[in-house]
Amino acid sequence: MILDIIHILVLIGLIATAYLAVKLRDLMACAVMLGIFSFLLSLEFFILQAPDVAIAEAGIGAGLTTAIFVMAIRKTSRWEVEE
């Protein structure tokens, strides 16, 4: 029962962070939202009893891709501009 509630909360968090990553204008906030998305996805993998995949997702998704996004944003523009 408590696991089901955590499961549903994680899924709601996944949808919310994915929506915010598309909608926000601050690209640094978008990168952080994608990091949170990857962290929640690794939590979801752990709930579904795949801890191996969860560690890989936490390391690659939440760690390395967020770092690469931050590097790319610092070398370009931080704000999304209208064409």
Partner: protein
Amino acid sequence: MMSKIVRTQANFLYPFILIFGFYIVAHGHLTPGGGFQGGAVIATGIALVIVAYGYDRIKSWIKKSTLTATESIGLLCFILTAFIGIGTSFFYNFLANSGLLFGDRVSYGVNPGYLNTAGTLPIMNLAVGIEVLGGLGAILMYMMSYGKEVDK
């Protein structure tokens, strides 16, 4: 280079991330995770320091050539460990139950898992961990080395 808060946090967290990554690599045959996952966690620590300090200060601490050499050394260790058992077959586990390094017998029944078992598997986990650490670190360093930082 980021603010002093970020740099202090990076200094504090860096050794713990490294230790956790090497723990995952060393316990690859007992617990979830293995060479790839542990190497990715260690590369996350490198990424933290690179983001906190910026490429201009990092490039004297971590060399790109060292990281690519580390990647090659890991792959060579893996393939050499596989070739040592070629007398029986490729990837033959010649160390298992031999009493040498990582050669203890596993007792039957429920047990917490012993580190000194499983033969060549821990050695191959270490090789893959070193290789992934070098490869992902080299990706980060090359990603950081092009272009200029824009002041906003």
